[in-house]
Amino acid sequence: MILLLADGLPGGLSHAAGDVLTVLGWLFLVYSLVINTSFLALTLLAVLDFRSYIRRLDFAGYDESFGEPLTPGVSILMPAYNESAGIVESVAAMSAMRYPDFEVVVIDDGSTDDTVARLVEAFDMVEVPIVVSRRIPTQGAVQATYLSRQGSHNVLLVCKANGGKADALNVGINAARKPLVCMVDADSILDPDSLLHVSRPFADDPERVVASGGVVRVANGCTISRGRVVDVRMPRRRLPRIQVVEYLRAFMIGRAGWSRLGGLLIISGAFGVFRRDVLFELGGLAHDCIGEDAELVVRLHRWLGESDVPGRVVFVSEPVAWTEVPQSRAVLRRQRRRWHRGLAEILAKHRGMLLRPRYGVVGMLALPWFVLFELLAPVVEVLGVAYLAVVLLGYAAQAAGWLSAPLVDPALLGGLLAASLLYTAVLTLSALLVEELSFRRYHGASDLGRALWAVVEENLGYRQLTAWWRLGGVWEAVRRARPEWGDMQRQGLGKS
């Protein structure tokens, strides 16, 4: 439009359009600088967090504390809906975790496939009348409860009428028999010590820690045997490869940084531990929103602020839940739309917490940050791409002789682009460096090459594409379309 207007207009107006575009370009740069600098600050905080964590490992004797008294019991909740492909393997892996006192509660949310039959057969389960509390109101009624006759009898299956993932988790909380509740996606793969690590904050600070979350990493490309990641590799396919570095930056560094600040807003649904009494107090997970796991944590902060409970939500950076990320565009698109729609809905629902000192770091810092730099980021990103297109078309117009001068000085445009792209790359590289200096899960020169290439690739197309999808998510949130259960096409764990 600007082009058409500029064409055939007096030079003054064309200049005015050029000035506007130049200023706009600078504004984009300022946004990019602020967002990236804030992330750099989070990275520094994360480094502090990791450093103190790794120091502890040497002397704190965590390994010995395994057998010690007063370790709180954990109920692992695994909601499942038509997961027959991988369910047996995930549950077997889960029930073989290293932890003194835990049970696995699988909640079948009215699957129409043979999920239940497979579980019953594989774990030699019999129907047992386990009392499922009604403290959290649920939609789908409990139909039957089964208990495994194998091993230490710590696998429980609750069959219920379909009601959605949040409803399944709520039934699980009602059925849980231990003081801590761990929420895990049926398809995430946990390291054998994950539960020990992630429940540690509860043992370290029992009075205050109310929830803890673990790192989620990308399982694609890794060798998986009997439901465990045994060899960590970079995936060879493009989309998963980019997601590895994306997860390192956003989930590992970002969350550790926020945790250090005391403003951890998101605990991944793939791996989080909560105090059961607090979940009862909160009334469980919300049915009416998409990112029910994220919403729960925001609501938890809200409750802490309103009831003046000095609670803490912490992030554990050491191992780890692994999850299979989408390999195809279509699935990735669905996932990102869903995530962003969830974020938009949560922020809208809890907008009352914004900038209220009573909610502490969460209200004053974390929520505003999420609004400015998560929720609005795709908007700015897409506008930026549109801006670039306009300016480039302007150059074309100038080459064709329609415009006398470029709308924006090409050198300036190059500088703006280079600065914002390089800054993002610096951030991602910092995440890789922190990983290299701390947990070192990846080995070998070729995997490093793949990771470095992914840093470049992320900026060429991937970011812009996901921004577009995320924008779609915001749009959906505005239109309030109905949510659906599954967002991923899952494979059996052994196949990848």
């Binding site: 010995e64 395994f66 057998g67 073989a96 290293r98 091993g151 054998p192 009997r226 465990r228």
Partner: protein
């Protein structure tokens, strides 16, 4: 003399036990978890198995049960290594089919003599 499979997730313990038993003239296979112990046993058909009770993944007790359920290994002698000198542990161990147990921290010399004793008892029967 005898083939012995040793499973412990602690590398120090593996080194200590491995060294002591090799010195006593045994052939030792060292593994770090219960599942690896079971597969090593299926392959090597050992004369004796030493299992740490607390290991990641499959615990020593589970591994012991798995061995007892395997027709070829049901009679192989098992000695448990346990960090907790608690009755419940030991009781569970015997119920899982263990022949003897050693409490950590352990005396390497005592461990070696227990191994000899268990092997001798097995040969006699």
């Amino acid at each position: 003399m005898a083939v012995i499979v040793v499973a412990d997730d602690d590398a120090d313990i593996r080194d200590l036990v491995g060294f002591k038993l090799e010195q006593s003239g045994h052939e030792v296979e060292l593994v770090a978890d219960g599942a690896a112990a079971v597969s090593a046993c299926r392959e090597r058909r050992p004369d004796l198995v030493l299992l740490d009770v607390m290991m990641p993944g499959m615990s020593g007790l589970d591994a012991c049960r798995a061995l007892r359920d395997d027709s070829g290994l049901a009679t192989v002698p098992v000695i448990l290594l346990t960090a907790r000198a608690q009755e419940s542990d030991i009781e569970q161990g015997f119920r899982a089919g263990a022949d003897d147990y050693v409490v950590k921290p352990f005396s390497p010399r005592e461990l070696a003599s227990r191994v000899t004793a268990v092997l001798a008892r097995r040969r006699a029967s």
